[in-house]
């Protein structure tokens, strides 16, 4: 009954993992970041020496809400004992969503991360809708965009594309012209807090969270090298989603 695929990211998960102390320290650090943003925006709003205008107040509140969501997702990811656990992410309502709509929403959600960064979007409006947990898939794309921004030069574009591939599955690709990820690390970066010895900075939990959400859709996620340097992250969502766990999505 389970929709089993050979997840490229799976193979590394059973491999070496960091000691509990290292994981705990990394987790604490990861949790402090959104918390520090929340505290910062709240203490800004509470300043008595200044009155913020309505627009700024609204922006601050939006930031607080986004960071609270991020905190919740981090906690879920931590409780899932890493991406190897199928309970890592439980899909919410699966709704038909067109790739164009999904990508636009994710770009809106990531606007603060992207700032004035050039993003080249190649997602045809006519691509058919796929059933997905819209909020979760937005988070997947936001995490991939965040990595692309962090690990590639500011003057290079980030590319987002979508297509329907063999068998009718949806493939979304986020690509950058950054330092790239060594082949030996491409599966390992999905481990929580994995840090490569090849000088690649740690990815915290971003890819771990992305993997658990994509897997909850019965899909797969994969890092691929690029000719000319950089990374392509490919996310595949099946045409007929079988979540395996959610009672909301049993075939009759």
């Amino acid at each position: 009954m389970a929709f089993e695929l050979a997840f490229p990211a799976d193979r590394a998960l059973a491999a070496e993992s960091a000691s509990p102390e290292v994981v705990l320290a990394a987790a604490a650090h990861e949790l402090r970041l959104p918390l520090s943003h929340i505290k910062g925006f709240v203490s800004s709003l509470r300043r008595t020496d200044i009155t913020w205008d309505t627009k700024t107040t609204g922006e601050f509140l939006q930031e607080i809400e986004l960071e609270a969501d991020r905190l919740g997702e981090l906690i879920n990811a931590l409780l899932s004992k890493g991406a190897g656990d199928r309970r890592g992410y439980v899909t919410r309502e699966l709704r038909p969503t067109t790739p164009a709509h999904l990508v636009q929403s994710a770009l809106r959600r990531a606007h603060l991360i992207l700032q004035d960064r050039r993003v080249e979007v190649d997602v045809p409006q006519w691509l058919p809708p796929f059933r997905m947990d819209r909020d979760g898939m937005e988070r997947v794309l936001t995490n991939l965009l965040e990595n692309a921004v962090k690990y590639s030069p500011g003057d290079t574009p980030i590319e987002v594309s979508a297509q329907v591939v063999d068998g009718g599955d949806l493939e979304i690709v986020v690509a950058d012209r950054g330092v790239g990820v060594a082949p030996v690390d491409r599966a390992r970066v999905f481990q929580p807090f994995y840090r490569s010895e090849t000088r690649m900075p740690g990815h915290g939990l971003g890819l771990t969270i992305a993997l658990s959400i994509v897997r909850a859709h019965g899909g797969q996620i994969q890092l691929i090298g690029r000719r000319g340097g950089g990374t392509r992250v490919s996310v595949r969502i099946p045409k007929n989603i079988h979540t395996g766990s959610a009672a909301t999505d049993r075939s009759p």
Binding site: A25, H29, R32, L33, L35, S36, H37, I38, K39, G40, F41, S43, S44, R47, I50, T56, E63, E67, L112, I113, Q115, K150, Y151, G154, P201
Partner: protein
């Protein structure tokens, strides 16, 4: 608003919400703020224009805060305040031994930050 005496602060943090948060608040306190998202951008800005204080994160991709601290200390004599989620004593000692002037652990309140940097800017 810009005056000859307006103090200039460089914020170095890879997290966009933190850059926004620090920039907006410090600007309302009358400082002129530039923000860099990584070490390379920070070093470029420091070479291009004068700053009176640097607020520096530690955990960043590329050059991390401690490396930046070492580089900046060899060429510039300006106060550097570390703003980091790392709270271990060893992290603080590593920063102070490289010449950091102060160390603020995230999360922190805006008032706390302002109170710490104001004296270093002659306020």
């Amino acid at each position: 608003m810009t005056t000859v005496t307006q103090k200039r602060i460089l914020v170095v943090d890879d997290e966009a919400p933190m850059r926004k948060l620090l920039s907006i608040n410090l600007e309302t306190c009358g400082y002129h703020v530039h923000a860099a998202r990584d070490g390379f951008e920070a070093l470029q800005l420091l070479n291009e224009q004068p700053f009176d204080l640097v607020l520096l994160d530690i955990s960043m991709p590329g050059l991390d805060g401690l490396q930046i601290l070492e580089i900046v200390r060899t060429s510039f004599d300006i106060p550097i305040v570390i703003v980091s989620a790392r709270s271990n004593e060893s992290d603080k000692l590593a920063a102070f031994s490289r010449g950091a002037d102060d160390y603020l652990v995230k999360p922190f309140g805006v008032d706390d930050l302002v109170a710490r940097i104001a004296p270093r800017l002659g306020n």
